[in-house]
């Protein structure tokens, strides 16, 4: 599978990463190289194999819906690039 510049642009959009023209060419080449290496997996017939997501027999983990101590809001905002009146602030959305 070869990845071209157009595909790279599409993936970058999905991943929300702005990339330069130089990076586009680099990523196209490197991703192609990595995916060609990954092709190796197709040597194996896995039609009858169940996927293994992780090794533990744990599925959904629930807890009681109790009120517990929550983090201090001002402490959390201390790391925010911009905030105002108890909200995170971002540029216009619409």
């Amino acid at each position: 599978m070869a990845i071209d510049i157009k595909e790279v642009e599409h993936i970058a959009l999905l991943a929300r990463i702005n990339i330069s023209e130089k990076e586009k060419a680099e990523f196209a080449e490197q991703m192609t190289q990595i995916l060609q290496y990954v092709e190796k997996l197709n040597e194996l017939n896995t039609n009858e194999v169940e996927p293994l997501y992780h090794i533990l027999p744990i599925y959904n983990v629930f807890r009681e819906d109790n009120v517990v101590e929550s983090p201090d809001r001002d402490e959390l905002f201390a790391n925010a690039p911009q905030h105002e009146d108890g909200y995170y602030k971002v540029p216009r959305i619409l």
Binding site: I3, E7, V8, I11, A12, L13, L14, A15, R16, I17, N18, I19, E23, E26, F27, Q30, M31, Q33, I34, L35, Y37, V38, E39, K40, L41, N42, E43, L44, T46, V49, E50, P51, L52, Y53, H54, I55, L56, I58, V61, R63, P71, D72, E75, L76, A78, N79, A80, P81, Q82, Y88, V90, P91, R92, I93
Partner: protein
């Protein structure tokens, strides 16, 4: 021996017998860091004043705990309340967490003192620590070589006697590989054995927290502290935590050791396999049963990893968007640009590469061909191990295919750089516990022996490692902190 050269348990003993005090220990450690870290570059952040103050407090009124008054350091992807946590990324250069990771709380609860935060490949993605956004770390055995990665700072600091032990994380070998390159002990417990809450995630189905120490017995002690269920961590397992140090003895008569033939091929340096074969003979001398085994799908672990790792990373890295914390590009005048410009400025090339690759593998039309395929291969790899473990107690193999490489040597070719993890990745795929311990030198550089155990059989693993360590003195070799 100087205080900074002592192991964790030697320091505990010195303190208990009142031969020294916490301030003397902390001063010795800080002096050592100030003397050698300009060469090793293991630390990203030093907690100097707070650490000294804490040690002083301890001496005035000592508290109880398994590591009371003892300095420790953390890979800089562990969240530490009030202490900068960067993940060696521009994205988090100024991030000060409002909480401590569970394991940090556990070390504090046993009385340990945080001395500083250690360098890594950005967001733990890499095998050399050259991919830190700030500076590369150096191998204490040869300063022109890498310490390995991604936990390069954690391994180099212990090897250079800058800290008695450190915590780190291992997704595809990130504890064991740098431990091997730096000639120290690196333990990755079973997936689920310790909590990862508060450690910045890379690939959640593979990530595991662990410890780097100067000897096996210290690793057992620290594991006894950090292991256990955490209600905040849905993949941590509710199982009793034994005192791992109680199982350490040298009687390994009849221990069944398998050595996988695939781990002695696959482009593994002849000097490494030679060193490992000598180690296996040592085990035989001690009464263990040695036999060649096969893990036939080994060669597929790395390509599967380069789908699963990036896929999960692309999801985990989504939270870095310039809104709630981390770097923001203030030039954006709409919110879509805010995300993509902040992420462009905040992430380094390898992180971007893995996010891109993972996004592609999970995207519509490719999910089955890549991600699902890789998960199926993962099952085959897991089954290989299960089969061997039905008749063997542990598996012994080299940790790495070569000794530490030169800084800059592997930066051009991405796939060559990825190959460093070829012998460690399969263990993460199967969620097994693994330890790397020093088993000799090749051309003056440390060689690591990897011991792999059954799920949750850390006791057997540590015993096998301890017995070898007691029968040899490789763990006592010290680096010169020069250039070879």
């Amino acid at each position: 021996m100087e205080l900074h050269e002592l192991t964790l348990q030697q320091l505990i003993k010195e303190l208990e017998e009142k031969k020294t005090n916490a301030q003397e220990i902390m001063t010795a450690i800080l002096n050592r860091i100030n003397a050698v870290d300009q060469k090793v570059k293991a630390f990203l952040t030093l907690n100097q004043e707070a650490a000294i103050e804490k040690a002083r407090e301890f001496d005035r009124q000592p508290w109880q705990g398994k590591i009371a008054g003892i300095p420790f350091a953390l890979k800089d992807n562990y969240c530490t309340k009030g202490v900068r946590t960067t993940c060696a990324s521009k994205m988090l250069e100024n991030f000060i967490p409002p909480y401590d990771a569970t394991l940090v709380k556990k070390l504090y609860a046993e009385g340990g003192i945080l001395t500083g935060k250690l360098n890594l490949d950005e967001f733990a993605m890499g095998s050399s620590t050259e991919l830190s956004a700030f500076f590369p770390s150096h191998n204490p055995w040869d300063l022109e070589r890498v310490p390995g990665g991604s936990s390069g700072g954690s391994a180099a600091a212990v090897a250079a006697d800058e800290i008695p032990f450190s915590l780190a994380s291992d997704t595809g070998g990130s504890i064991r590989q740098p431990a091997a390159y730096c000639g120290v002990v690196g333990l990755k417990p079973t997936y689920g054995r310790v909590s990862r809450w508060g450690i910045v995630a890379y690939a959640s189905s593979l990530d595991q927290a662990g410890v780097i120490t100067k000897d096996v017995s210290d690793a057992a002690l620290v594991l006894s502290i950090i292991a256990g269920y955490d209600p905040l961590e849905s993949t941590s397992v509710q199982m009793e935590v034994p005192d791992y140090t109680a199982f350490l003895n040298t009687d390994i008569k009849g221990l069944k050791i398998g050595y996988p033939k695939e781990y002695f091929q696959q482009g593994v340096d002849g000097k490494i396999t030679e060193t490992l074969k000598k180690a296996l003979l040592k085990y035989e001398e001690m009464g263990a049963h040695i036999e060649e085994v096969s893990l036939p799908h080994s060669e597929y672990a790395l390509p599967a990893y380069y789908i699963i790792g990036p896929a999960e990373a692309s999801s985990n890295m989504g939270k870095f968007d310039g809104v709630r914390y981390g770097l923001r590009d203030f030039s954006a005048d709409n919110v879509a640009d805010l995300f993509s410009l902040s992420r462009q400025a905040g992430f380094g090339p390898e992180v971007k590469r893995r996010i891109m690759l993972g996004t592609y593998a999970l995207s519509s039309g490719y999910y089955d061909a890549y991600y699902l395929k890789a998960l199926k291969v993962r099952r085959l790899i897991n089954d290989d191990f299960a089969k061997v473990f039905s008749s063997f107690d542990v598996i012994v193999a080299p940790t790495t295919p070569t000794t530490a490489f030169k800084i800059g040597e592997n930066t051009d070719d991405i796939l060559t750089a990825y190959m460093n993890d070829i012998l460690t990745v399969p263990i993460n795929m199967a969620g097994l516990p693994g330890i790397s311990i020093p088993c000799g030198l090749a051309d003056g550089l440390p060689v690591g022996m990897q011991i792999i155990g059954k799920p949750f059989a850390e006791t057997t693993l540590l015993k096998a490692a301890y017995a070898f360590e007691q029968a040899t003195d490789y763990h006592q070799l010290k680096p010169s902190l020069g250039v070879r």
